[in-house]
């Protein structure tokens, strides 16, 4: 028995599983807790707060919507989306009410799965991602040492499926708009990453009370950087995409109008801002224009910008000034 094993030893707990199950059942009934009825997000994503989950769902919709406005026709594989700048797109929950996720229109096949993994230090992160990894020059008090994670380059192919769109709409008891014949089976090629994320913990969690979900607390500070996503098409015309996707139920006319208003959609990354939960404003960070996002509770802030072909993000349970200071100290 090792010294630590000895120190951590406790007598084997005698548990009554039947009684515990009865207790759980009583609680589920009393609190009217319902089980999940569909496949939930995988655990990694489940660890992300609901706020971020909403953001990523919104990003998907915004990305799809952005594709609508891209002009030009691709005979062969053509890059239709390669962001060089970012823009905030305010959205409300009603903008997305009932909007189908991307997979309602077809099938997404990963050719290179997004498999993030931990690396021991910044040098390994730089080597494995092939990027120069920027580190903060100064950190707010109470922020500890970072842990690094690398998300390798990820590629996926999205194949439109008229049959799938019909089934998805039928499941929601809606009548889908007809998918143009040549869109059925056509492909989008999506490339994302690589990306490097540094998590800074302060050793405590914001929700310390017993019974709190283990994942409600975000790390104190997150510094992320990555190659922005690039989308290529093998021949879907933008007019078709536009007329098809704009007819989908769930995307509000306001949201569609905002997306259409983006001047250079093929090179602009829309960052959806849930207006009922967060506010955003333009800021200058690292000498370029970026977006500063604050959640309406004042508990967290984030700043996002793009420079030299890399998208950067700094977020944390910190004030806007603190997050901006960290962002500007990256070197």
């Amino acid at each position: 028995m090792s010294d630590i094993e000895d120190m951590l030893s406790v007598p084997d707990p005698k548990v009554d599983t039947d009684r515990a199950l009865a207790r759980l059942r009583a609680r589920v009934k009393a609190e009217r807790i319902t089980p999940v009825t569909r496949m939930a997000a995988p655990p990694r994503r489940a660890a992300v707060s609901g706020w971020l989950k909403g953001l990523s769902a919104a990003a998907t919709v915004a990305l799809v919507a952005t594709l609508l406005t891209v002009s030009g026709l691709a005979e062969t594989i053509l890059t239709i989306f390669e962001p060089k700048q970012i823009v905030a797109v305010p959205i409300t929950s009603s903008d997305l009410s009932g909007a189908s996720s991307f997979d309602a229109y077809g099938a997404l096949t990963w050719t290179e799965q997004p498999k993030p993994y931990d690396v021991p230090d910044v040098r390994t992160a730089a080597r494995e991602s092939g990027m120069t990894v920027l580190v903060p020059g100064n950190l707010p008090a109470g922020v500890g040492a970072p842990r690094y994670g690398v998300m390798p380059k990820t590629t996926a192919t999205f194949t439109f499926s008229a049959e799938k769109a019909r089934q998805a709409a039928a499941a929601q008891k809606r009548t889908p708009p007809p998918m143009p014949a040549n869109m059925d089976g056509s492909k989008l090629f999506i490339t994302g990453g690589p990306a490097v994320v540094a998590f800074y913990d302060d050793g405590t969690t914001p929700t310390g009370a017993s019974g709190a979900s283990p994942f409600t607390g975000m790390p104190k500070l997150i510094v992320a950087q990555g190659k922005p996503p690039v989308v290529q098409s093998d021949g879907v015309t933008v007019d078709q995409l536009q007329s098809y996707l704009l007819q989908q139920p769930g995307i509000s006319p306001q949201l569609a109008a905002q997306i259409r208003a983006i001047k250079d959609p093929s090179s602009t990354l829309p960052v959806p801002i849930p207006v009922d939960m967060a506010t955003s404003k333009k800021v200058t960070v690292q000498g370029v224009e970026g977006i500063c996002v604050g959640d309406s509770t004042g508990l967290g802030s984030a700043v996002i910008w793009q420079k030299d072909g890399i998208v950067y993000g700094v977020a944390g349970t910190l004030t806007e000034q603190q997050v901006l200071a960290v962002a500007n100290s990256l070197h």
Binding site: D3, I4, E5, M7, L8, V10, P11, D12, P13, K14, V15, T17, D18, R19, A20, L21, A22, R23, L24, R25, R27, V28, K29, I33, T34, P35, V36, R38, M39, A40, A41, P42, P43, R44, A46, P116, Y117, D118, P120, G144, A145, R147, D201, G203, T204, T205, T207, G208, A209, S210, G211, A212, S213, P214, F215
Partner: protein
């Protein structure tokens, strides 16, 4: 006679059969209800809305989830509370047959228990020792107090470690394999050995501080 008798007898017969049927049904239902109540008491009947797959998962993983939490908080009652919270979280968000169910539950047990531990530490040393005293079984009260104090000091060290290191130790010393730890904490199996050694070093350093 021939008309009335059989007719009356027939009526009586049907009435009797009807009553008997009713009695039989009632008796059967009562018996069934009592059996259900008994099985419910024992927890062997799926509750309304609780999928059998979830119950199966609960039965399979509950002892391990409690063991991990107990390793961290060193108090059975608190460990069982943690396990309840962990399973409720899972029940809300994930299907019972998810392939990641077991590693998810293990990780959640460690993290939730560590949260409980830290909040206990924040309340102060006396509270922490008091919390452990009921779990430190010893015939002699003085010995129980000493065991509680030692366990409390060790837990205070665990609470001060970085989250990942503490979770690694909790899972490893609850008997999980490197493979299981890697799956639970989203790490590469090849790096578990190194990370664990670092966590152990950090733990020893904190103990002797």
């Amino acid at each position: 006679m021939t008309r009335g008798g059989p007719s009356v007898g027939g009526k009586a017969g049907w009435a009797t059969i009807g009553r008997r049927r009713h009695i039989w049904r009632f008796g059967g239902a009562l018996k069934e209800e009592m059996e259900v109540a008994e099985r419910l008491r024992l927890g062997t009947v799926p509750g309304p809305g609780m999928p059998p797959a979830f119950e199966e998962l609960f039965r399979r993983e509950y002892p391990r989830v409690v063991a991990i939490a107990h390793r961290v908080v060193a108090d059975v009652a608190e460990a069982e509370d943690v396990a309840q919270d962990v399973f409720v979280s899972f029940y809300r968000k994930h299907p019972a047959d998810a392939h990641y169910a077991a590693p998810w539950l293990c990780a959640a047990a460690a993290h939730t228990a560590l949260n409980v531990l830290r909040s206990r530490e924040r309340r102060g040393k006396r509270d922490a020792v008091e919390a452990l005293r009921r779990d430190a079984q010893a015939p002699d009260p003085a010995q129980a107090a000493e065991t509680a104090e030692t366990r409390s000091e060790v837990r205070a060290v665990l609470a001060r470690l970085p989250e990942r290191s503490a979770a690694l130790l909790a899972l490893r010393y609850s008997g999980l394999s490197y493979e299981e730890i890697a799956a639970a904490l989203g790490l590469r199996q090849s790096s578990i050995g190194t990370l664990l050694r670092r966590a152990e070093d950090a733990f020893r350093k904190e103990v002797t501080r």
